[in-house]
Symmetry: C2
Subunit: 259 residues, 2 copies
DNA sequence: AAGTGGTCTAGACCACGAG
DNA sequence: TCGTGGTCTAGACCACTTC
């Protein structure tokens, strides 16, 4: 078993915090490596002369920090970091589309991960207030809704939903499940729309229970939300894409001119 | 008191989850507004015929989702959202520096918040491996370290630490507590460096206990980490700035060319 | 079957905040 | 002083995983 010290009952610091501190230190020093199992709650309770509830309180804190995950019937494990997907500043460069690669695949290739897409759903619906505002169409206007889930090395890392005005999508593969080489942006350019730039709005928050389930996330891990709007050269919005990403799976990179 | 239902003891769903569900719904429906106090743990325990520990478990979940905060001796309150600071894509435009505004103040002006900076520390130190790599200097090279905390409407929202190579900072106000109008970027340009662009790397995670303390954050709220590197026209890094932001206080906006 | 974490009880004492 | 949340005990039974 681990070489753990003892708690100081006279200390001001709550004992469950002291236990969490000791375990956190073992993890951060690397004495407990990703994938390693922590001593069981009963073992820890016995070692520290505390009840299981107090030990659980300590472990709950570590779960909330994202350091460990618990698996019912198996144990508590140091969290193994998923592959970090670095989203490069040039990921929407035209040369990638022309080479027949959709953005997600272009990224995966750069970082050497295995990429998958599943749970693709496509259909028409009336625009909600928020989507309508971003697409500069009237509320309730017909839009194509495309949602899908991305996986890296078999693990879900992102849930994305795109909205495209009906007249942009009509008669193109954007209405189909499979949008063909280069993805929907390639189809838009084929249809005569020239993409000019994207605006991305990035934030972070805790996931809703549904998002946690959909992305197979352990509790206490945040998500990055990214809303991307694609504009043509006339500043017309061609697409809004709402994404929820498992936070620790991503580093987003942007290049900002000083001008 | 609130019009709360009862739990279903026969349900598969744990009763503490059912309690959390009911409270969450009240909050999301707006029946409990930001700043409102929830019924006390004892009141909830009595209402639901559960022990306080079970009620606390439900409330813990809501805290982890960032929906409520607890205050010792006062109660549990629906979290009041801090002002959201939208970081615009052009926040480092030269015209802002020339107008004598540092980036943080430029943003604050745009969004109509009161901005403050405190806990400013300046000093020389040897570059760590990570900083040295980003600044393209050798590990241990002398750099100026500038750290400070930003507040919006009096609430801490960001902790930032900048590193500047010694030869860039030497003899300028970058070595001083007060860097003067336009901030360190203005001083760099005065000293003959021409800023070309910035690269920002964005991610999100749960804060460490120290970060939580420093930013006065309630438990269960994530942070956005942003590392910005400033380059001159010769692609030389002039500054690395490591920031930790309270996640729900920020929306970062970027403009990405389609090439 | 044995060991693990998940849930829940029924108490206790403490520290903090407001009146 | 009183009500609030914070901590902790000493159990119990359950669900899940592994063997």
């Amino acid at each position: 078993m681990l070489n753990l010290g003892q708690v100081d009952r006279a200390s001001d610091r709550a004992v469950y915090r002291q236990v969490a501190d000791m375990l956190r230190e073992k993890i951060q020093r690397g004495e407990l490596e990703p994938g390693d199992r922590l001593p069981s709650e009963s073992e820890l309770a016995e070692h520290f002369n505390l009840t299981r509830m107090t030990i659980r309180h300590a472990i709950q804190d570590l779960k909330n920090e994202g350091l460990v995950i618990s698996e019912h019937g198996r144990g508590v494990f140091v969290r193994a970091a998923p592959p970090v997907r670095r989203l490069a500043a040039d990921r929407f460069a035209r040369r990638h589309r022309q080479a027949g690669k959709a953005a997600f695949l272009a990224e995966a290739e750069q970082s050497g991960h295995m990429a998958d897409v599943d749970r693709i759903e496509v259909g028409y619906m009336p625009a909600t207030a928020d989507v309508a505002h971003r697409l500069k169409v009237s509320e309730g206007a017909r839009v194509v809704r495309r949602s899908r889930r991305y996986l890296a090395n078999g693990r879900p890392v992102e849930q994305a939903t795109s909205y495209v005005p009906a007249d942009v999508a009509a008669g193109t593969a954007i209405e189909q499940l499979n949008t063909g080489p280069g993805g929907i942006y390639a189809r838009m350019e084929e249809a005569g729309h020239t993409l000019s730039h994207f605006v991305e709005e990035v934030s972070a928050r805790m996931p809703s229970p549904e998002e946690r389930r959909s992305l197979d996330m352990s509790p206490g891990v945040p998500v990055i939300t990214l809303v991307r709007t694609a504009y043509d050269t006339a500043e017309r919005p061609l697409e809004v894409c709402d994404t929820v990403k498992v936070a620790h799976a991503y580093v987003l990179e942007y290049r900002v001119p000083a001008q």
